[in-house]
């Protein structure tokens, strides 16, 4: 009984939904602030100290805005997609090993479950675009699917490298196998590079923000969403950012591992996990700052010409070494 209660508290408060929500908003703030600094701007400023509450303020503001469903839209899909998008991402955070070597939920082969559900978020992007029956949204959805073809394979192959190195498909075992040496320091460096680029595409950030390119197709698949639905999408996207940065930290940087003082394990593990994932976030933000957006056909060419061979080479190297 106590155990169940403990699990529920873990799920809802720490390191579950509440903590994840706060952390993801913090990540958005870090992303925005760092991006602004790179561009010699100020960034969020007024809500809270140094604008740290700005993502929350945006979220609350969006919740209070009018919620419009376009006349021709598929109302059922249109309403359901943001909820699913949010829910899937939130669910996946339970698998992340934040305050210990295993997540709130952990079972054999949970990495496969993780990757499979991540794929669903990409498909939800497509349904969101198609359901809103708008030309820009349709084009955005088309592009999202095309881009999906580009980044999904290198993304998975880069994970496969890690799986081969650790010999396990369970996140817990992967983390524990890194207690001696992080995978990024070994032959998996190439896989890490591929992973970062694929994540950049998955999160639709410059240079791969093709499905929602503001200058071309206004906001792409998001164009018809407003109010609460947009807020859910935005928060879902923030959580996805946290998720993918966290997964990168877990797979390549040893996740929550680090020197531990007895008694403070939970706090220190959380701290290590946060720092490592923020490092990945900063890499992603830097990538966002130094490139122009490329076209979707160029993205596919890039992915199939360079990214996939690279990830295959990475798998090969790892296979030879381990």
């Amino acid at each position: 009984m106590i155990e169940v209660l403990y699990k529920i508290i873990q799920m809802i408060l720490f390191p579950g939904f509440a903590f994840i929500g706060v952390l993801s908003l913090l990540y958005e703030w870090i992303d925005r602030k760092f991006y602004a600094k790179l561009q010699n701007r100020v960034g969020p400023l007024y809500a809270g100290p140094h604008g740290i509450l700005q993502p929350l303020a945006d979220f609350i503001k969006l919740l209070s805005k009018e919620d419009i469903i376009p006349e021709g839209a598929d109302k059922f899909l249109f309403t359901l997609t943001p909820i699913f998008f949010f829910a899937v991402n939130l669910l996946l955070t339970l698998l992340l090993p934040i305050c210990g070597t295993s997540g709130v939920i952990s079972f054999t082969g949970d990495l496969i479950f993780f990757v499979a559900l991540l794929t669903i978020t990409s498909i939800l992007v497509y349904t969101a675009g198609v359901a809103s029956v708008n030309r820009f949204a349709t084009i955005g959805a088309e592009r999202a699917v095309l881009q999906f073809i580009g980044y999904e394979i290198p993304f998975m192959l880069s994970i496969v490298s890690v799986v081969i190195s650790s010999g396990s498909l369970t996140i817990k075992n992967i983390v524990e196998s890194q207690s001696n040496m992080w995978y990024i320091l070994g032959p998996n460096l190439l896989a890490f590079a591929v992973y970062v680029i694929a994540v950049q595409a998955e999160l639709e950030r410059i240079p791969f923000d093709i499905p929602e390119a503001e200058q071309e197709i206004v906001a792409g698949w998001l164009v018809e969403y407003s109010g609460k639905k947009l807020a859910l999408f935005r928060l879902g996207r923030d959580i996805e950012t946290l998720l993918l940065c966290g997964l990168g930290a877990t797979l390549f940087l040893g996740g929550p591992l680090g020197p531990v003082i007895p008694g403070l394990e939970i706090i220190l593990h959380t701290l290590y996990f946060t720092i490592k994932s923020i490092i990945i976030l900063l890499i992603l933000t830097t990538l966002k700052a130094i490139f122009a957006r490329i076209r979707v056909d160029q993205m596919l060419v890039f992915s199939w010409k360079y990214l996939i061979p690279l990830s295959l080479i990475s798998v090969l190297i790892v296979r030879v070494v381990f």
Partner: protein, 116 residues
């Protein structure tokens, strides 16, 4: 020769340098630098004015009207119509009109944008 990520040095240099913008409307107002001869809000010196109506004649935006007060004819300036061309200041024979560096001509009430 293409070099991917060419700007990475520049962006990290800017991470350390001071921001380019100023926090203008609420703080750091003293950092707004305006040169001499900036064309801002009109300042009118009634004592110098001789009532020649030259400003009224040359104003391209009809932002000047002539009224009569105890000392004779004089202009009033509607800053909400003014296009800040400084033609009136240029043609004023006694330099009774000057353009100050006050550029914040925003108001809730039109009357506050009247220069008398």
């Amino acid at each position: 020769m293409p070099k991917p990520g060419l700007m990475i040095g520049e962006v990290y240099k800017n991470l350390l340098s001071k921001r380019a913008t100023i926090l203008y409307p609420f703080k750091e107002r003293e950092l707004v630098h305006l040169p001499e001869g900036f064309r801002g809000r009109i300042v009118f010196n009634r004592d110098k004015c001789i009532g020649c109506q030259m400003c009224f004649r040359v104003c391209p935006a009809r932002a000047i009207e002539i009224i009569e007060d105890e000392k004779g004819k004089r202009p009033i300036f509607f800053m909400y119509r003014c296009i800040y061309c400084a033609t009136c200041a240029e043609y004023c024979p006694v330099k009774a009109i000057e353009l100050s560096t006050n550029f914040e001509n925003i108001a809730f009430d039109k009357k506050t944008l009247l220069v008398k």
